[in-house]
Symmetry: C2
Subunit: 153 residues, 2 copies
DNA sequence: CATTTAGTTCAATTTTTATTGAACTAAATG
DNA sequence: CATTTAGTTCAATAAAAATTGAACTAAATG
């Protein structure tokens, strides 16, 4: 880990915090991203990030749960290794979009609870419908990506 | 405000917290969503939510800054009123998508900092390219919505 | 079966973030 | 121009979240 990589790891921590995860989750993600070896053991991570076992244990679970990290075990080795989960872009996006649907439901419920209809009702209705529609539209977007990505990358 | 509306306001607080804003921001949003009058004064909000002036002041600013709330002033009335900003769905979405681009940049930078290329590099490259592409694709998605929304709603 | 290793759990602590409340500013009113 | 009203600011406090660390479990090794 050189200086730039260490500062990258911290930056990743900040961004993950902005995305609603913990700073430590971002650090582990960042470490696994830039690390030379694509797999790292529990203790390699702990040492690289100078954190406690409890913190690494809890946070790797968080990341595994979020689908971003994959635990790997090898025969004849009692350690567990951790690596970035090379999940398909579609799956990643769908997970993120979930919050949109929660927001859509919130708006729609708000509209129902209003005592009278007004221009706010109309707006709640459209935004809610939009985000709900968007959830279904994602498949088409991902399909389009699959078709164009070879030209772009 | 009946019981259901008050519990809706709290629910909105929780969801806004999940979306990275404060609980109070969600409460104010929720209040403005279900309130009978589509505009509310500073003190009406403060009383309805039983919060301090400081908190209302800071949080209304947060919401105005995020583009979700609009301050309204009336001639001959020194109060400011607050209402949900009926911003277009596209604008709302674009604001949310910004985090995707930040994430894309993080991945791309991570790839650059790696000492060697491996399968993680490949993944970082694709995911980053995808989120970057997605940012540009949004306009097409919004345009499609404008065309289909009358059939759906 | 005693020992080492890998990781978990959770109460205590630290750190961060949200909220209050009191003193303040600025504008309007009498 | 003194007073009221509307809202702001910010230091102090409260509340919530992250992190530690020590005691623990479970599995593998000798």
């Amino acid at each position: 880990m050189d200086k730039e990589q260490l500062s990258y790891i911290e930056e990743s921590g900040i961004i993950f915090e902005q995305m609603g995860m913990t700073r430590m989750a971002g650090r582990i993600f960042g470490f696994l991203a830039v690390s030379d070896k694509s797999e790292a053991s529990f203790d390699e991570i702990r040492q690289a990030l100078d954190a406690s076992k409890g913190s690494i244990s809890g946070t790797t679970k968080q990341l595994i749960n979020a689908g971003l990290v994959q635990p790997v075990s090898l025969p004849g080795d009692r350690k567990t290794y951790y690596r970035l989960n090379k999940v398909a872009v579609g799956q990643l996006l769908r997970a993120r979009i979930q919050l949109f649907n929660i927001f859509a439901d919130l708006l729609s419920k708000g509209r129902e609870l209003k005592k009278s209809e007004d221009d706010v009702s109309e707006w709640l209705k459209e935004v809610s419908a939009f985000y709900t529609w968007l959830g279904g539209e994602i498949n088409a977007v991902i399909e389009k990506w699959e078709n164009v990505k070879d030209d772009i990358m």
